[in-house]
């Protein structure tokens, strides 16, 4: 649906050039929810604004639904933008228009008749749960309600793509969840392709299929959300994941000082990560029985991404060194990721 090829963007100013994007390539399939996460200043907004040509790329191409966005003439671009809606961190509603008239705006500029507009706006307000607020002005709404208006307005033109620029960053966690649920809902209902940028990993974890990590104008890591979550390859990705799932050892463990070589006690500390089905199986019990080792769980957490459970356990394995190795090999065969942390002194 969206293909971004070797996109660069350089801002020129008196103070010097800023390369906001340094060759970004991405592909977003139809009906997908694609997340781009990055720190402030990484180039997220620049990237998403290049998709609808609010920002002209310096080089590279953006293709949306087969159209080369950069090559469209004025009128064609306006038409193309009607199929690519956008929602914003600060909602950007028209303060002088009621909720109803805000949602009606994109239809007005498409030249729809009054009756046709009403026919489309009302169900949308129903969908976002604001039909009783149709006559309110934005200043009379909460942040979450404003974003719902933003979403209804974005959907009015029946777009194929929805771009979300930090759509939940100005909202509290509870409201964020409800807006994300709404986005997920419309993604399914309208087979809408969604690209969202954020600096909050919770957003990615909650609704995205795929995620790209952007850093300093480059995509440094990309993949399925589960894959990136369970097996991050870059430090940036690890840090973001750390914001929702603790990757660090619990403090009491880092304090005791683990030894990298075997010590007398023979207790080995391992981190076991598991994804999906294996989470439900009695693997630890199996290892204890089969290999004559003792396993005690020191610390653990379990989470789920898009209905797939995954988690980490930090466990102490003790026994004969051969037995321990066999047990670890067994974990590997059961699709657990095993990471040896060290020996307990």
């Amino acid at each position: 649906m969206i293909k971004i090829d070797n996109l660069t963007k350089t801002y020129t100013s008196k103070e010097g050039d800023i390369q906001a994007l340094k060759g970004v390539s991405l592909y977003v399939g139809r009906g997908r929810i694609f997340g781009v996460i990055g720190q402030s200043g990484a180039g997220k907004s620049t990237l998403i604004r290049c998709i609808n040509m609010l920002e002209r790329p310096t080089s590279g191409t953006v293709t949306v639904d087969g159209k080369d966005m950069g090559a469209l003439t004025g009128k064609e671009l306006l038409r193309a933008r009607q199929e690519i809606s956008m929602i914003f961190q600060h909602f950007n509603l028209l303060a002088s228009r009621t909720v109803f008239d805000n949602v009606a705006y994109p239809l007005e500029i498409q030249g729809l008749k009054k009756s046709a507009i009403t026919e489309r706006v009302l169900p949308l307000l129903e969908l976002v749960g604001l039909h009783e607020r149709a006559r309110y002005y934005p200043s009379q709404l909460s942040g979450g309600q404003k974003q719902r208006v933003g979403i209804a307005r974005a959907l009015a033109s029946r777009p194929k793509v929805l771009l979300c620029d930090e759509a939940t960053s100005a909202l509290d966690p509870q409201t964020t969840k409800s807006i994300l649920a709404l986005l997920k809902d419309i993604n399914k209902k309208f087979d809408l392709t969604i690209v969202l940028i954020t600096h909050e990993m919770i957003v990615i974890k909650e609704i995205c299929d795929k995620v790209a990590v952007i850093e300093n104008g480059r995509i440094v890591e990309e993949g399925g959300v589960l894959e990136v979550f369970t097996n991050p390859r870059t430090q940036t990705a690890r840090e973001f994941i750390g914001t929702v799932i603790s990757q660090h050892l619990p403090p009491f463990l880092s304090e005791i000082g683990l030894s990298p070589v075997p010590v007398d006690s023979g207790k080995l500390l391992v981190r076991l990560s598991f994804i999906g089905a294996s989470a439900g199986q009695p693997i630890l019990a199996g290892a204890i029985r089969a290999y004559n080792v003792d396993i005690s769980i020191i610390y653990g957490n379990i989470d789920s991404i898009k209905d797939t459970p995954f988690g980490t356990l930090i466990a102490e394995v003790s026994g004969k060194s051969d037995d321990i190795n066999s047990a670890l090999a067994y974990f590997g065969r059961q699709n657990l990721r095993v990471e040896v942390l060290g020996y307990v002194p």
């Binding site: 671009l77 933008r81 690519i84 956008m86 914003f88 600060h90 002088s96 228009r97 994109p106 500029i109």
Partner: protein
């Protein structure tokens, strides 16, 4: 006060009303598009164009920095060309309009610049044309502020119209000077001042009311 004076007061009121109304309306009509032009050609706006922006801006600043009384005399040939005469109430409307138009332009510009850029951006992202951005976004969003600015313009024009006596424009200010100052008729002086205060109050409070009515950002 003699009936003669009352008649003069009434006539002056009508002259002031005539001068202020016509020059207000014409300067709104000319100043608004200029204000829009200044805004959209400004940096980072929908039709950024430094040359046009600075060119129009320079002309506007030149007019605004010329004292009204000098402007009035300086543009006499222009006034004659427009209304066929350089003295009289109608003739006074021309310099009043010329001096108010740049004022309106700047006031409209500063109101339009108050519209958050994100709102303009949202409109663009929905496929709005520049004209739609102007008529459906910028002007309605800035309406409340523009009304306040136009009110200020009218109030200033009432003040400036008092100087119209110089070119035989008549009006309340002229009456106050001719009778009150030159002939020491204090009562006339006081009456005109009271009437002027009353008119200014009326204009200001109507403007405030309308501005509040159209401001939906604080409900």
């Amino acid at each position: 006060m003699s009936p003669e004076i009352i008649r003069l007061l009434w006539q002056s009121c009508l002259e002031t009303f005539y001068m202020v109304t016509v020059s207000s309306l014409v300067s709104f009509a000319l100043g608004m598009p200029l204000g829009v032009l200044l805004t959209i050609t400004g940096k980072g706006h929908i039709k950024e164009n430094p040359k046009v922006n600075q060119g129009v801006g320079a002309v506007i600043n030149a007019i605004r920095s010329t004292p009204f009384i000098i402007l009035m005399v300086a543009i006499v040939p222009f006034t004659r060309w427009v209304v066929g005469s350089s003295i009289g109430t109608t003739a006074a409307i021309v310099p009043l309009t010329v001096s108010a138009t740049p004022f309106v332009a700047r006031i409209v510009e500063s109101s339009l610049k108050e519209v958050p850029h994100g709102v303009v951006e949202a409109a663009l992202s929905m496929g709005s044309t520049p004209l739609e951005v102007i008529y459906k976004v910028l002007l309605p969003e800035a309406l409340s502020g523009i009304i306040l600015g136009l009110t200020l313009t009218v109030v200033s024009l009432i003040g400036y119209s008092a100087m119209a006596g110089v070119i035989g424009g008549g009006g309340l200010g002229d009456l106050a000077i001719r009778y009150g100052y030159q002939r020491f008729e204090e009562k006339v002086m006081i009456a005109t001042v009271v009437i002027l205060i009353f008119i200014v109050q009326l204009v200001q409070s109507s403007g405030d009311f309308l501005s509040r009515k159209t401001d939906k950002s604080r409900l």
